[in-house]
């Protein structure tokens, strides 16, 4: 029944578009669901990339914010939509790699039940502490936490958030999963309490904390990426600082419902790549502290591999985390 109605609607819209002959995808605006509130890091990346994708597709990419339950509400809606290429989603590390282990009742399967399009950008993760912590570097900090876990308070932006996911991995590596975790509604208030010294440390995306680090109101211990960031060249990588196991990036990427026609997938991959190769879009993304994806990561297969790899990495720590 649903199919017929949709079919009729599609036929009708095609007819209106002016030809009995089927026209190439897309013939109407594409909805990109962002599963978070407007203005957040994922939303900004979606709007920047979507703006350029509209040019290549010849149809508007409309951003629709459907927030809720750590982003899983919006992704569920996108992945259960008709697989016609007109509904896609911009998810991130949390919704695609961490969600299955975080939310037991998850209604979608990011590994087998969706059509990845490609990665749009990665954001390095920083371990930051309040400015008057004794530990001078990551090694000393890790030693202090391990020796006296009860003395430390960690802040995060709620279960399922990037800061929670990445910090849970950090605590899993340290072997202190039960360390005092203080939940905030968003990283803004958490950062406020970190600056004022109410809490001791947090893990967060570079874009949220870089200016505070530069101003010296908080201390950055390490960046959990392979390379140092041009935004904060003085902050060592976790490998340099002696904790090479802790490697994690908060990436964003686009996916469509499983069964989306190959023609539409190809067009979307092409549009994404053109957007990421555009000088102006690139500049905007780099200004955000975003790391541009490699050529492989921009393809459905490469993106799928990334999702799988990070899911495997996060799984043990997330399942062991106290919930």
């Amino acid at each position: 029944m649903k199919r017929t109605v949709l079919g009729l609607a599609a036929a009708l819209s095609l007819a209106l578009a002016g030809g009995a002959h089927a026209q190439a995808y897309p013939t109407k605006p594409v909805t990109m669901i962002v599963p978070f509130a407007a203005g957040g890091p994922t939303d900004i990346i979606a709007r920047i990339v979507g703006d350029h994708m509209s040019k290549t597709l010849g149809q508007q990419v409309v951003i629709e914010n459907v927030a809720g339950a750590g982003g899983t509400t919006g992704i569920t809606r996108a992945l259960t939509a008709a697989p016609d290429g007109y509904t896609i989603a911009m998810g991130h590390l949390g919704t695609f790699s961490a969600a299955p282990a975080t939310y037991p009742g998850l209604k979608y399967d990011p590994i087998n039940g969706m059509q990845p399009i490609g990665m749009a950008g990665g954001t390095p993760i920083l371990i930051v502490g309040r400015k008057n912590l004794d530990a001078a570097d990551l090694k000393a900090f890790v030693a202090a936490v391990k020796a006296n876990p009860d003395k430390f308070n960690e802040a995060h932006a709620g279960l399922g958030s990037v800061s929670w996911t990445t910090c849970t991995l950090f605590k899993g590596i340290l072997g202190t999963p039960k360390l005092n975790a203080v939940a905030y509604r968003g990283t803004g208030p958490a950062l406020n309490d970190l600056v004022s010294g109410q809490i001791d440390f947090m893990c967060d995306q570079i874009v949220s904390v870089s200016e505070q680090v530069k101003a010296g109101t908080i201390k950055a211990y390490a960046i959990a990426s392979a390379q140092r960031s041009p935004a904060l060249p003085n902050v060592p990588t976790t490998t340099e600082a002696g904790l090479p196991e802790y490697q994690i990036e908060a990436w964003n990427g686009i996916a469509a419902p499983k069964g989306t026609p190959k023609e539409a997938v190809d067009r979307l991959v092409d549009a994404l790549n053109k957007a990421l190769n555009d000088e102006n879009t690139k500049k905007r993304l780099l200004e955000l502290g975003t790391v541009l994806p490699t050529a492989a990561e921009r393809t459905p297969d490469g993106f799928a591999a990334l999702i799988k790899r990070d899911a495997a990495k996060l799984d043990p720590a997330l399942k062991a985390a106290p919930k």
């Binding site: 709007r47 309490d193 004022s196 530069k214």
Partner: protein, 499 residues
């Protein structure tokens, strides 16, 4: 002095033709979305973000800021005319503002709100320019314990909002608190009281609750007694406040500006408390508190000034610390980052054009809003003459579209209908919904801060008394409560004895 040379720089930036036009566009769009119930600044700013790609960052931020404070202006119009608070900050305005409209003084109420807001906006602009940097220290003094105590104090304010029974006001606060706990637990991710219903997983949206218990329930109430609604349309009265009205409003505006300005700086949306605190103060120091809730002009002038002052000083933590105190400010962070400016303590030194240009544009924007709004007062008041049989379907369709667009979830509209029924039931049972809304807004924050404070203090309640600011706030809370309760206990006794 430094401040003046800085402000001169700011006005130089803000008075360019392009920035003036953008400021005006922002204020106009802001007023429009503020007047439309449900469509809030968050959705609009998000949608307009890509449009600002082509602009320079200062111009873009000037426009987006204009939308934000323009919406605060517009929101009070809806609160006064149709008794629907578009945002948490205009809940209090419905109490006396709508009563004034019913008495045929809608124009005076709208005018007072606009002039009070303008004054508050001017003072707040100077305030940010002069004290912005040092005042950020205040935001840092507020940790979870202080914040919890502030919320407790806020809830004690709510008792004063009561028209009639204080016991019933207490009931409403508790119902609001109870409703605020619905949804996924922030810390453990467990679903609470959602009955496994996915759309409830993130709790009840403020817009859904407010449109339901105010908007829909008000329509139901009006449909029931045709006389009540006709009062609004037969009497038009003066369009602008006269000298007497202004004399009555001067002191409340001053006090409201001060209270709203201070609370606006606090992290975690302290600005919502401003109008409530101002209303409480005005009602407490009034010679005849019984006028409140029946169309007292102080009940509009004070809270409206507080609301606008708070809306503006909320920029202080954003501009000087880089920390957004509420959802709209978080969106402004997004807008700034999209233009390659990462908000932080260094914005003032690194981008003085942007910082001072924005501050100067706020003053210009406030002036523009006054110019946009005062002539519109006549138009708004005329709207009240539309026959109610056509007015309420229009309110309904605006509410439906507005609520749908908050999260793009149709089920939210159905929830609003449910809360409409709930609100109608409350009216029938003699409950006032305003304290419930305050309880609801503060409930989430209060629980979050309580749990944070207890984790940090390792389970010791003493933390609330040991920390001086927190202890001070709790003392104020107790004093408010005692002052509010004493007369009513005495009164009830008298009633018993005279029976």
């Amino acid at each position: 002095m430094d401040m003046f040379s800085n402000l001169a720089l700011g006005f130089g930036v803000a008075l360019s033709l392009q920035n003036l036009a953008l400021c005006f566009a922002g204020c106009l769009v802001g007023t429009l979305i503020g007047v439309l119930p449900g469509v809030g600044p968050i959705a609009t700013i998000a949608i307009l973000l890509p449009i600002t790609f082509g602009l320079d960052p200062t111009g873009a931020l000037i426009m987006l800021a204009g939308i934000y404070y323009g919406a605060q202006y517009g929101g009070s119009t809806t609160a006064i005319l149709v008794n629907i608070p578009g945002e948490a900050t205009s809940v209090v305005t419905t109490l006396d503002g709508h009563q004034m409209a019913k008495q045929g003084r809608a124009g005076v109420a709208l005018g007072t709100a606009a002039i009070g807001s303008f004054f508050a906006g001017c003072v707040a602009t100077l305030f940010i320019a002069a004290l912005g940097a040092p005042l950020t220290k205040l935001a840092l003094l507020f940790g979870p314990a202080e914040y919890f105590s502030l919320m407790v104090m806020g809830l004690c304010f709510a008792v004063v909002l009561a028209r009639g029974s204080i016991l019933k006001a207490f009931c409403m606060i508790m119902v609001g608190l109870l409703l605020s706990t619905v949804g996924t637990d922030l810390e453990t991710g467990q679903e609470r009281m959602t009955l496994g219903f996915a759309p409830l997983a993130d709790g009840i949206d403020f817009a859904v609750l407010a449109m339901g218990v105010f908007g829909f329930a008000e329509v139901l109430r009006n449909l029931e007694n045709p006389e009540a609604r006709d009062v609004v349309k037969t009497k038009i009265g003066r369009l602008l406040p006269d000298w007497n009205d202004i004399k009555q409003s001067v002191a409340p505006v001053l006090r409201g500006t001060f209270i709203g300005g201070i609370l606006g700086i606090l992290p975690g949306n302290g600005a919502v408390l401003g109008p409530f605190a101002s209303y409480t103060l005005e009602k407490k120091i009034a010679k005849d508190p019984s006028r409140f809730g029946k169309g007292a002009i102080e009940g509009v002038a004070g809270p409206e000034s507080a609301n606008n002052a708070g809306a503006q000083t909320a920029f202080i933590p954003l501009l000087t610390l880089g920390i957004p105190p509420n959802a709209v400010m978080a969106l402004m962070v997004g807008a700034m980052t999209i233009h390659g400016i990462i908000p932080g303590p260094q914005v003032i030194t690194k981008n003085p054009d942007l910082f001072w240009g924005m501050i100067a544009s706020m003053w210009i924007g406030n002036l523009m809003l006054l110019i946009i709004n005062l002539p519109l007062v006549g138009v708004w008041v005329k709207l009240l003459q539309v026959p109610y049989r056509l007015m309420f379907p229009s309110i309904l369709i605006f509410c439906c579209i507005g609520i749908y667009s908050v999260n793009n979830q149709p089920v939210d509209v159905a929830f609003t209908a449910m809360f409409g029924l709930f609100g109608y039931l409350l009216i029938k049972l003699g409950f006032e919904p305003a304290p419930m809304l305050l309880g609801f807004v503060l409930g989430k924050l209060m629980e979050e801060k309580l749990r944070q404070a207890l984790i940090i203090s390792r389970g010791s309640f003493m933390t609330f008394v040991e920390r001086p600011i927190s202890a001070g706030l709790l003392v104020v809370a107790v004093v408010i409560l005692v002052v509010a309760l004493l007369p009513s206990i005495n009164k009830k006794r008298d009633e018993v004895f005279t029976e």
